[in-house]
């Protein structure tokens, strides 16, 4: 793989320039190099390190931490089957098995491009993608393919390989993985107005509210103003250790759980 071209180098610098401290640009910069080169290459790591004035080892440490960065290439269409519990139970496990069988590959592998195929596909199982009300869910290049079935998923990957247009059920016509990565780097592709406002499940409650004439209160209700809670009562009310650790006064080192958390390090 050759070095990054001048345009990409310019865009990498542009990303770094969006932030008060340029290192903040690293995540979107890695998305951009994936768009340019199809994966995170050693050359790209060097380039990011040079622009951000940090070591290549530091860039590499970040690139390996996040699952969306790929050291080996993916297909033109990267298919992610949600196999977190809810989707798995609803059929995600069966979809993933069927696709592995059909594509004759394992997790995180690219299927061979057959003669006549326009595009390649790769397969991975993913964690909850915040679309559980559309389970089982498949993501293609990080667009939603809602309410999938094993057969439907096989047909979809075949359409993709053949080069037919495939639309996201809640989004635009699918673009390639490299095009998608460019948007994630902060360079919009003009497809924002495609697709609906919301899918059917998103509207389930709203439709009932419309039918029954239910709304939020129209006029400010007269009731008493809620008393401003004290810091102590806020700590008592907040119901998780997350909230507690958020509220512990920075000066109170006596807090047990914070001390424990330090010990645990």
């Amino acid at each position: 793989m050759s070095a990054l071209d001048d345009k990409t180098m310019g865009e990498l610098r542009e990303i770094a320039g969006r932030y008060p401290e340029k290192r903040s640009g690293l995540l979107p910069m890695l998305h951009l190099v994936q768009s340019a080169q199809g994966k995170v290459t050693p050359e790209a790591i060097e380039a990011c390190a040079e622009i951000l004035e940090i070591s290549a080892a530091e860039v590499s440490g970040v690139a390996t931490f996040y699952t969306m960065y790929k050291r080996h290439g993916v297909g033109d269409f990267h298919v992610g089957v949600c196999t977190n519990t809810l989707c798995a139970v609803m059929g995600g496990d069966q979809i993933f098995e069927r696709l592995k069988q059909h594509l004759e590959i394992g997790n995180d592998e690219v299927a061979d491009k057959r003669q006549g195929d326009q595009y390649s596909v790769s397969l991975e199982h993913v964690e909850c993608n915040a679309a559980c009300d559309y389970a089982p869910v498949v993501m293609v290049n990080w667009e939603f393919m809602d309410n999938q079935t094993p057969e439907g998923a096989v047909q979809m990957v075949e359409s993709l390989r053949a080069g037919h247009d495939v639309r996201s059920t809640r989004g635009p016509k699918l673009c390639t993985w490299r095009e998608a990565e460019r948007v994630l780097a902060g360079f919009p592709d003009g497809r924002v107005d495609e697709g609906p406002s919301a899918g059917p499940a998103s509207l389930a409650g709203l439709e009932i509210a419309r039918e029954r004439g239910w709304t939020a209160p129209h006029v400010p209700a007269p009731g008493a103003i809620a008393p401003t809670p004290s810091k102590e009562s806020a700590v008592a009310e907040a119901d998780t250790s997350r909230a507690e650790s958020e509220t512990i006064d920075e000066s109170s080192s006596a807090d047990e759980s914070a001390a424990e958390k330090r010990e645990a390090q």
Binding site: A130, C132, V183, P217, P220, G223, I225
Partner: protein, 436 residues
Amino acid sequence: MTDTLTPVLTDMWDVERSWTLAAYESKGGYQALDKAFGMSQDDVIAAVKDSGLRGRGGAGFPTGMKWSFIPQDNPKPKYLVVNADESEPGTCKDIPLMMGNPHVLVEGVIISSYAIRANKAFIYIRGEVLHVIRRVQAAVAEAYAAGHLGKDIHGSGYDLDVVVHAGAGAYICGEETALLEGLEGRRGQPRLRPPFPAVAGLYASPTVINNVESIASVPSIVANGAQWFASMGTEKSKGYGIFSLSGHVTKPGQYEAPLGITLRELLDLAGGIRGGRELKFWTPGGSSTPLLTADHLDIPLDFEGVGAAGSMLGTRALQIFDDTVCVVRAVLRWTEFYKHESCGKCTPCREGTWWLVQTLARLEKGQGTEADLDTLLDQCDNILGRSFCALGDGATSPISSSIQYFRDEYLAHLTHGGCPFDAARSTAWAGQEVTA
């Protein structure tokens, strides 16, 4: 009497081209902004405090109070960071909100940043939701073009820049200090607290981090008043929130209602459990909140009610499982998730989640003994309260609660020599089958 459902944030979602500035403004959008600019910053904070709004990202900390912790005598710049990482299993409200109504988030960002005196805000969106990122990017661009962002907004003298930042796949980056690490271009590992982000957050400067839904609720509070917001909900859990029903319900989806609604009421609206089957177990607020059962249909879904039932309201991610589902299979899968997502910083979570998977996987195959259940609970004890961040704590929730309610089902795996359930009966397409 407040209506059962109270669409506010979801109210735009059925509007034609709801994601555009024109559509949002046609519904009164960006008017709260002028009202906020007519108030002092401290009055905006007071209004949010008085509304009783508590964080919608899981922990339920009072939002206005969090804002008031920003030390205004600190000469460093202040930052607002929106947590749009939405990755807690079961949670699926912020994503449709940003897709259908991104401008309410942008307006909320402007008002909130004004209140805490920040001139730069970041929206950190998980990377795996391409179209949602497009919609938020476009909303920010439209807001700039219309003069809602940039210099001297609406002639107020107030300046604000917003950066939309895509993450790259890591559940832990939803944890607020790990998110800051990610936003600073590092591995997403939580930071030691104190110092708290309010004092030393992004770039060691005072920083407020709030969930998407928390920030998106702010324009309605400013527009309609704190009392209007507080007129919904329960005594200590005020206002409305989006409840996400998924799994074995007839009509899964998003239901925006006052806090304190019950699962029974929600299931009534959603057509009940699919195929007339029985509710077996559910999560009230994502997989990190202990499981509940059909005995908990009538608890008020507010911070206090769910807490009293031994769980947490969390993100109102109601994952519903019927009686075809093996609880051991469900719990094993969540545990594999926590093991995979453990950032590795602390030993109890890094090693502990690995052991949990080993023990559970054996049980699921019908291989261990009854003593393994105690081993599991011991392993949970070694993680809960001893991990560096709440991911480790959350990993123990499904295990300890499932053993509490379904001990016999674990044992059935041992006597049966494997899982006694047929996974095929739980799928979406098995819904049509005749119930036995």
